[in-house]
């Protein structure tokens, strides 16, 4: 009896592994075809602009508000710790480094997956369910060029810009709390920030992270919509998968990228 349970467990594990391998295979073929269709981004620039607006510009509000609050909390928590060591003037550096290296790219990617990623999945999944993608194919219009490529590019381009915006607003949030409410010197806040933040090591590492996260989150979101089962339950599952898989991928990749960029692992 116990042997049968172990075999059942192992076969279930095998089935699950095969399922995820198949999904990864389909996702890779899909990505390859989307990348091949990227010339459509330039040729159909108006479509790309519309998607940049939908994916990027319409995510700005949530990114800015979140960035402000995260920066304010960082300013407050940083001050409480630093003031014990008489180093409250270093607050600007702490806030900037935390945001630029880690919180900017990671939190933006998580918010981006929730706001724009889920919307992309639902939109494409609904287009599939209502046979709009099939109709395009039958009208000799390639959905990879018309639908997927502009959305993929818009997501990929928007993410680093949104992450930069998040960090910039976060720095101002830290300033409001640190300088405005807790009395840290304004000049020290910015001079410490400039002194400890290295362009190549800190800012560029954050930019690289946000580019990678943008690529992965948009790939997951567009693929989940394309691969969704064409039912309302299927779309609901695909939308959830986008958020969950993106979050796990972002956090896992963040660890790997941090290890690669800052070494010592």
């Amino acid at each position: 009896m116990r042997g049968a349970t172990v075999i059942e467990f192992l076969s279930g594990l095998g089935r699950s592994g095969l399922h995820w391998l198949a999904v990864l295979g389909r996702a890779s073929v899909f990505l390859f075809r989307v990348l091949l269709a990227q010339d459509a981004v330039v040729r159909r620039f108006r479509l790309t602009l519309a998607e940049l607006y939908s994916v990027g510009v319409r995510s700005m509000l949530i990114i800015m508000v979140s960035g402000l609050f995260v920066g304010m909390v960082l300013g407050y928590q940083g001050y409480i710790t630093l003031v014990n060591f008489g180093a409250a003037e270093a607050l600007g550096g702490v806030v900037a480094l935390s945001l630029v290296r880690e919180l900017g790219p990671v939190v933006t990617a998580l918010l981006f997956a929730g706001r724009a990623g889920s919307a992309l999945t639902a939109e494409i999944g609904l287009m599939k369910t209502t046979e709009q993608l099939s109709a395009m194919e039958m009208m000799a219009v390639d959905p990879y060029r018309r639908v997927f490529a502009p959305r993929f590019f818009a997501g990929f381009l928007s993410m680093p810009l949104l992450a930069a915006l998040f960090s910039a607003v976060g720095v101002m949030g830290g300033y409001i709390v640190g300088v405005g409410l807790l009395g840290v010197d304004s000049g020290s806040y910015f001079s410490q920030m400039q002194a400890v933040t290295d362009w190549r090591e800190d800012v560029m590492s954050g930019v690289i992270k946000s580019i990678v996260f943008g690529f992965v989150v948009t790939w997951i979101a567009v693929f989940q919509g394309f691969d969704a089962e064409p039912t309302s339950e299927g779309i609901s599952r695909a939308t959830t998968q986008t958020v969950v898989v993106s979050a796990l991928a972002v956090l896992g990749l963040d660890f790997i990228l941090t290890g690669l960029m800052f070494g010592d692992l």
Binding site: A135, E137, M138, M139, A140, V141, R146
Partner: protein, 277 residues
């Protein structure tokens, strides 16, 4: 156009088609011919693969074996570029209309023209209004798809399907779920489109009366094969038990009322029934 709209060369030829979905065999050696410039209706019970047949003709699916020729070209062997060129010569009307929901009715009909031609905007406007007038919906050109009834959506989809003046139109369940007036409008439109434009029309449906009234050829399919074919009169007069059950709408016959399963008595009385819980 050099082709004779009603010539003896068939528009579509399907030979020994075999197609599976997973383990389920959908077509098992199906063969049929669609004459050029005529209305051919493929009928059969739900789930027999009628829509799948249209997707195979349109090259959206590939057969496991057998061949499909459209306009003399073997669909499964075409490169993407040539398949898209072939699709420009065929229109497809989907059961739901499949209108692009982020565009107005006008933009939906203009969509294939904008994608495949470089016509000036004024000419596109004239063409779109002509197509919409043909389906009686010129006045609805500014509406969005969400504002249309099911029948109107299908008429707009028909206007879009004929926008590029194709040689053939594939209709997927064009009468499903329509009220009698709208159904009459769609029947008239299919007939008129076929006659005035000389198109080849392939309908898949299980609405016997409407389909029989407008078809030049009727093909009955079930169990992956052609059960009967011919003109409406020939099929109606046929002696096949299966055809008579289908056309007469009899609940039991060669197609049983009960889905195959174990004995009813066993299911109710034996432990097998309890085990399921």
């Amino acid at each position: 156009m050099s082709k004779d709209p009603v010539s003896e060369t068939p528009h579509v030829v399907i030979e020994d088609l075999v197609f599976r979905r997973g383990r389920k065999l959908i077509f098992d050696g199906l063969s049929l011919t669609v004459p050029r410039g005529r209305v051919t209706t493929v009928m059969g019970p739900s789930g027999t693969g009628k829509t799948t047949l249209l997707r195979l003709i349109g090259g959206q699916l590939r057969p496991d074996s057998g061949r499909i020729w459209v306009d003399g070209e073997e669909v499964a062997r075409l490169s993407n570029r040539r398949l898209y060129a072939l699709r420009k010569r065929m229109g497809m009307l989907f059961q739901t209309g499949a209108l692009l929901t982020d565009m107005s009715v006008f933009e939906n009909v203009a969509f294939p023209l904008r994608e495949h031609t470089r016509l000036p905007e004024e000419l596109i406007r004239t063409l779109v209004l002509m197509k919409l007038e043909a389906v009686g919906l010129r006045g609805a050109s500014d509406l969005s798809p969400a504002q249309l009834s099911g029948g109107m959506a299908r008429r707009v989809a028909l206007a879009r399907a004929i926008a590029l003046d194709p040689d053939m139109i594939l209709y997927d369940e064009p009468f499903a779920g329509l009220d009698p007036i709208t159904m009459g409008q769609i029947v008239t439109l299919i007939q008129r489109t076929n006659r005035t434009l000389g198109l080849t029309s392939v309908l898949v449906t299980h609405d016997v009366v409407e389909a029989m009234a407008i078809s030049d050829q009727v093909v009955l399919i079930a169990e992956g094969r052609v059960m009967d074919s011919g003109t409406a009169e020939e099929v109606r007069a046929g002696t096949s038990e299966w055809s008579q059950q289908f056309l007469g709408g009899h609940p039991d016959g060669p197609v049983p009322f009960h889905y195959p399963g174990s004995s009813y008595r066993d299911d109710l009385l034996n432990d097998a029934g309890r085990d399921r819980d």
